[in-house]
Every structure is written in C-alpha cells, then in structure tokens.
C-alpha cells in the first residue's frame, strides 16, 4: 500500500510540475504507465539475445556484454571463451534478457562457473541474490523486485495474477477469463504494469520469473488444484470444440 501511495504521489508531482511549467519535458522511468494524457510511452524491451552461441558474434549482443562486464567486476580475468559461451548465452536466455537478472546471475561468477549458474537458474529464480552494495537494497534479489511489483497489486489483481501462473507458453484473453477470472481491463492493467506482455497476435505472455513467483503465491493460497482443474477443463473443451474444424472444411 505504501508503495502504491508513493507511486501516486510521484505521478501527481509530475502532473503538478507539467501544469506549472509550460514547455517542460520529463524523462521518467517507471514499471507502470503514469496514466497522464501528456505521457508518451517508450517500452524498454529485454536486452538483445543471440540465437546461436558462437564467438565472436555473441560479443556484439548487449546481454552478453552486460554479463561479461559484470562478471569481470567480481573476477577481473573473466572472458567469454568457446568453453563457456554456450552457458553464458543460456543464462541470458533463462533470465529473458532482463538486465537485473543478468547482473545478479553474473555476480555468481566469483564462485560458480557459467555452467553451474545455468544449473542453479534452471531450478528457479530464488538463486538470483547478490550482496553488491552499489545496488539498491530493493534490487539485490529478484524476489525483492518481484515482491515490490506484487505489493503494488490490489487483492483482486493478486488473485487473478497468481492464477495466470498455470498457463504455459502464453494465453488468450478468453482463456484467462475462464481459467483465472481475468477481465480485459485487468489484463490491460497487468500489461501497463509490465507484468504481462501482449504480443501482436493478441496473446499474453508472462516472464518465467514472474510466473514462478505467482505459482508460489497460488500454492500458498491453496488454489493450485482448483485453478489447474479449470485450466484442464478449458483446454480439453477447446480441443473438443475444434474437432469439426479439424475434420471438415477450413
């Protein structure tokens, strides 16, 4: 609640400044849209990821550059080699090109090899913690970052968002409505808060770390079985409904 209040106050301050100073332009970074009429939105996407892990091509990708630079801060002689480049690329892929995820993962180079980092990351995002003092405390673990986003949601939003964790590989609005009780407005709100991405084909996707976080919340709320049951019914029904299309004129 506190964070939401602070966010609203920040938004109101920006509005006041804009109204008081004609011609004023402000560059604001935020996880959510400010919902101001004068706002122009520039979405910061994930860092560029290479499709193939071959040297030296991968070194031109920003995600790999960030990993190597961060790793060198804890291990100055660290370099991308033919032996570790595949693991480095895999790490960048596992964190979805998220800069903070790359920084937190690279900090482990001090004690783990890139291959070992991949193994840890494959088991979940809980491993992404750091004691780097030049990072704000709220950014020293992925869990802290995700918790902040979670705390900004209303109770109703939390209920819906944790249910969305049962989807795999994205979902449509209709599926979200039936399985999680999500309205279009709520999905739009999640997109505005960078909790979901809306693809050009109108499918919604959730970052894997957010999905794991939401899944844990769903489990804690004892709603996993019920939600999986709705997911199961929805998709088995979908298959059944599409049978005439599969067998007939399309």
């Amino acid at each position: 609640m506190c964070l939401t209040k602070a966010y609203r106050q920040g938004s109101e301050l920006i509005l006041e400044l804009l109204q008081a100073c004609s011609g004023l332009r402000m560059l604001v970074t935020s996880r959510e849209q400010l919902q101001l009429n004068s706002e122009t939105l520039f979405v910061l996407e994930s860092m560029a990821l290479p499709a193939v892990a071959t040297l030296p091509d991968v070194l031109s990708y920003s995600a790999v550059q960030l990993f190597v630079e961060t790793a060198r801060r804890v291990r100055p002689k660290f370099t991308a080699t033919t032996m570790n480049v595949q693991a480095i690329v895999r790490i960048c892929q596992l964190v979805g090109g998220m800069p903070l995820g790359i920084i937190l993962a690279a900090a482990w180079v001090e004690v783990l090899s890139p291959d070992e980092i991949v193994t840890e990351l494959s088991q979940g995002f809980g491993f992404l913690e750091s004691e780097l003092r030049d990072l704000p405390e709220r950014q020293r673990s992925m869990r802290a970052v995700l918790t902040q986003s979670w705390q900004r949601l209303t109770e109703a939003e939390r209920t819906v968002f944790m249910r969305l964790a049962v989807f795999r590989g994205g979902f449509t609005h209709m599926a979200a409505k039936h399985v999680a009780g999500a309205s279009l407005q709520m999905l739009s709100s999640f997109v505005n808060k960078s909790l979901l991405q809306c693809e050009p084909n109108r499918r919604y996707t959730m970052h894997e770390f957010l999905r794991q976080f939401a899944e844990a919340e769903l489990e804690a709320a004892d709603q996993t079985v019920a939600t999986l049951s709705l997911h199961c019914i929805y998709y088995t029904d979908l298959l059944h409904q599409r049978e005439p299309d599969l067998k007939g004129r399309r």
Partner: protein, 228 residues
C-alpha cells in the same frame, strides 16, 4: 489448427493434468482432436508421448475394470504415419484391447476406428490379405454412421491396397471415390492425401502431366491449410 498450435503447450499441460487425475470424461472429449492434430501437424513424437502417458496412468488398477477411454487411447497409439507407433506387434495388441472394450461398450464409431487400425497394422506387417476384411468391415461401419471424414481415409487406404495387389481398376475406383467424397466435405488433410494418392496412380501409369497436376493441387492445399 493454428489456434491449437499456438496453445499446444497449454494443451499438453491440460492433457498431463487430466491423465494424472484420471479425468476420463475430459480425456475422452480431447482425445480425437489431439490425435488428429498431432497427425496433421507432424507432431508424431509428442503425440505418442502424451498417449503413452495416458496408457500408463489410465490403466486399470488392481481389480478395477478397464475404462473404455483407456481403450480409445491405446487404439490411437498406431497412427497414419510409421513414426507414430512403437512397434506393429505391440500396437496391434493394444488396438485389439481397444476393440474389445469398444465392443463391450457397443460404441460403433470406436469399433470402426479399431478395425481400421487393425487393418493398417496388418498392412504394415505385410499381411495384405488379412487387412482387406478389416478395412471393409470398418468402412461398412463408417458408412452406416454416415461419417464421411473416416470413409475418405478407408476408401483411399483400401484403394491403394487393391492397387498393390494388382487389382488396379478396383483400386483406382476406390481412390477416385475417396477424392470425390473429400472434395465434397472439404476436409483439407484428407483431400490433400487423396490427391497425393491419385497423383501416384497417374505417375505409375505414365500420365506425368496429370500426376503433376494432382500433386500441385495437394501441395497448394497443404500450404494454405498449414498441414504437412
């Protein structure tokens, strides 16, 4: 099909969840589409994995009577394509179990399906003579049910078998009948398959221009409908 393709990961998760909880009704509703989707989109290995999971999880426990849906799952472990089954002998035994359950359940559509699969199994094992009565019995059931989707497959399969047995006139007529039926129903996968078979008939007769025309049309349908 594109909708199922986009949601295949959800479909897979839903299937896994359904078989883990032994939700026979949900599995029964999803099975036919899952089977045909995997056939048409060449997801043989993934389809087989999901069916294998169903076979293992839905098997009768202790004194429990085998469920008809378990039989339907097993009957579909022998697909159209040779990549979609484990081994002909094991597959045949499973289809026979499926047939026995379908007969006990008096499920005519499923009896027809199992007979078709037994015919395919015999054909793949090189026993064409044993395949013919199974194909014909299956076809008779589908005609009685007025199921034109399956009739199209049976007519085409039976036609090809007769051609292989040097009964070309009879075989050609059946493949032609299958093609006409599929043009009427508009089933793209079936139509493309029958056009492909007609192309081979023309090719073997040395009618290369006609063969190419059939294959071109088949190819175009597959491209348009995203079937392979």
């Amino acid at each position: 099909m594109d909708e199922i393709e986009a949601d295949f990961e959800n479909v897979r998760a839903a299937w896994q969840s359904a078989v883990a909880q032994r939700r026979f009704e949900a599995i029964g509703r999803a099975l036919e589409s899952l089977y045909w989707f995997c056939e048409m989109r060449i997801r043989f290995q993934e389809g087989l994995e999901l069916l294998r999971l169903g076979r293992e999880q839905l098997a009768p426990v202790a004194e429990e009577a085998p469920h008809p849906i378990w039989g339907r799952v097993m009957a579909r472990m022998l697909g159209q394509n040779s990549a979609f089954y484990e081994s002909p002998i094991e597959s045949r035994a499973r289809v026979e179990t499926g047939l026995a359950l379908a007969q006990h359940d008096e499920n005519r559509a499923e009896i027809a399906f199992c007979l078709w699969r037994l015919a395919v199994s015999a054909y793949l094992s090189g026993d064409s003579i044993a395949a013919i009565p199974a194909y014909e019995a299956s076809l008779a059931h589908y005609q009685a049910l007025d199921d034109r989707f399956y009739q199209g497959y049976l007519l085409k399969d039976l036609g090809i078998l007769y051609i292989a047995l040097d009964q070309s006139d009879r075989g050609d007529a059946l493949v032609q009948q299958s093609l006409e039926l599929r043009r009427a129903t508009g089933d793209p996968d079936g139509l493309a398959t029958s056009l492909g078979a007609s192309g081979w008939i023309m090719y073997n007769r040395g009618h290369y221009t006609e063969a190419e025309a059939y294959w071109q049309e088949s190819h175009q349908i597959r491209r348009t409908a995203h079937i392979f």
